[in-house]
Point group: C2
Chain length 250, copies 2
DNA sequence: TCAAAGTCAAGAGCAGTGCTCACAATCGCG
DNA sequence: CGCGATTGTGAGCACTGCTCTTGACTTTGA
C-alpha cells in the first residue's frame, strides 16, 4: 500500500510511511464524522480542525472533498462486502444462506445508515464515481451470484414460474450468466435481478423513512421479503433436508 | 390560501395576492433550478438573484431553506401522485392497470430525476419531513392499494403461494387491510408490500446508477420486474379475458 | 384626512464552506 | 552534509444560509 516498489526492491520510506499514516488519520476522522452527522455535514475544515492541522493541509492528501468522499465510499463498499462474504461463508442450505446474507446486509445498513446512504442514496449531481469503486462495489453482488451458482450446483434450485422471458430479458440474463452465473437457468438469473433490487429497495425504504406510517415493524416485512424474493430465485425454505454429499466439485 | 377571513367576510387584499404571487415565483424558480442542478446545488441566493430581489427577501416567504425544500417535496409528491392516478384511471384488466401504473411511475421518475431523488433518495440528516407532506405522499400508495381492491372485487386475484404468513406479518397485513385494503387476502397485502418496495427499489437502482455495468437495458429488467411483482400480488398477465359484468358493487 | 400600525425589501454583516497560492519550515535522500 | 522535494501554514477568494437594522411603502382606524 504505502510501500514503494522500485527496481524490484520493496522499500518503505519514512516519508511514505508518515504520509500514509496522516492520510489514514484523515479518513478515520472523516468516517467518524460521517457516521455521526452524515455526508452533507462532513466538512474538510472540521476534519482538519479535529486533527489540529491547517484547513489547507488536507489538500496535500486529497485533491478535493469528492476524493475524500470516494475513499469513504470505497471503505463502505468494502465493509458491506466483507459482511456479505462472511455471511455467505457460513455454509448450509441455499435458502438459509440467502436469508443469512440478506439479514447481514440489512444489519450492516442499520448499523451504518450514513455509509449506506452514501452508497445507495441519491448521488451527488456533479459527482461521478471513479473506476476504482467498481471493484469493492461488486463484492456484494458477487456474493449473491456465487450463492446462486452454489445452489444450482447443489441442485437446490427449483424452477421459477414467471412465464417465458422476453427476448430482450433473455439477452440480458444470458450475458450475466456468462459473466458470473455459469449454467444457472436464465429465469433464475432474471428473478435474481429482481430479488436483488427488491432487497435493497426494502432496506432503502426502511432506512430512508418511506415505511413510516405504513409498516410498523420493518424487520417483519423484511423477513417476509426474504421468503418471497427467495421464491423468485427458485429457493424455498427447508425443502430438501440437505443432500449429504452435495458439496461436489464440478 | 392567501385570503384573509375576518368577521365572516372573505376578502383577498392586494397585499395577500401579491404575496402569493411572489411566493409562487420563488417556488417556480426553485423548482427550475432543482430540475437542472439537483437539490444540493439549490441555493436561496441564486433563486433571489434570478428573481432580481435581495437575498434576504426570501425569508419573508420561507423561514428557511428547508421550508422551501418542503414546498418542492410536496410538489414532487403531488406530481407523482397525479401521474399515478391518471394512469390508474385508465381502466382495463387488473394486470394491465398494474403495468400501466408502474410504467407511469418510472416514466415520471426518469423525467424528473432530481424530484425523485428529493423524495426517495437519502434524507437530509437534520431534516424531518413535516406532517403536511404525508397527504401528498400517500397518493401513490393509495393508487396502488385501490388497484388491489378493484382487482379483488373483480375477481382477478389468484392465490399467491408464498407459504403461510408469519404471525407478525399477518398482524401487519391485517392492520393495512383494515386501513386501506378491505377484504383483500392477507397474502396479497403482504406480497403487495414487497412489490411496492421492489418497484421503487428498481427505479432507484436505475436512477442512482446502481445498475451501471450490470444491466444494460434497465427498461427491459423493469418490464420483467412488473410481471414478477404482479405475481406477488396474485396478478397474471392476460389470464381472464375480462369478466363482462364483473364490476359489481359489494 | 392624517397619523399610527403593519408589512416588505434592501443592505450590511456573521459564521461557515471548498479551494488556491505564495511562503516557510522541515525532513530525508543522494 | 547540503540541497531539494515534501509538507504545513495562513491569508484570501467566492460562495453559502441566515440575522438584524433601516428605510420605504401600504393599509388601517380615529
Amino acid at each position: 500500500m504505502w510501500q514503494t516498489r522500485w527496481m524490484g526492491t520493496t522499500i518503505a520510506t519514512a516519508r511514505a510511511r508518515a504520509r500514509a499514516e496522516v492520510r489514514a488519520e484523515i479518513v478515520t476522522e472523516a468516517r467518524r464524522q460521517l457516521a455521526v452527522e452524515g455526508a452533507p455535514a462532513l466538512s474538510l475544515r472540521s476534519v482538519t480542525r479535529q486533527l489540529g492541522m491547517a484547513s489547507s493541509a488536507v489538500y496535500r492528501y486529497f485533491p478535493s472533498r469528492d476524493e475524500l468522499l470516494t475513499a469513504l465510499i470505497v471503505e463502505a463498499y468494502d465493509g458491506l462486502g466483507a459482511v456479505a462474504e462472511t455471511a455467505a461463508a457460513a455454509g448450509g442450505q441455499a435458502f438459509e444462506r440467502w436469508r443469512t446474507v440478506c439479514r447481514a446486509i440489512r444489519g450492516w445498513a442499520l448499523e451504518n445508515p450514513h455509509e449506506y446512504a452514501l452508497i445507495f442514496g441519491s448521488p451527488v449531481p456533479g459527482y461521478e464515481a471513479p473506476a476504482l469503486t467498481v471493484g469493492p462495489a461488486s463484492r456484494v453482488t458477487l456474493v449473491l451470484a456465487g450463492l446462486l451458482v452454489d445452489a444450482h450446483r447443489a441442485g437446490e434450485l427449483t424452477d421459477v414460474d414467471a412465464g417465458p422471458l422476453s427476448r430482450a430479458m433473455s439477452v440480458e440474463a444470458l450475458r450475466l450468466a456468462d459473466l458470473a452465473l455459469p449454467d444457472v437457468p436464465l429465469a433464475t438469473v432474471a428473478g435474481g435481478l429482481v430479488a436483488w433490487t427488491s432487497l435493497f429497495g426494502q432496506i432503502s425504504f426502511e432506512l430512508f423513512g418511506q415505511l413510516k406510517g405504513i409498516v410498523e415493524q420493518p424487520e417483519v416485512l423484511f423477513e417476509h421479503a426474504i421468503i418471497v424474493t427467495a421464491g423468485l430465485l427458485g429457493l424455498r425454505p427447508g425443502q430438501l433436508p440437505g443432500p449429504v454429499a452435495a458439496q461436489t466439485e464440478p
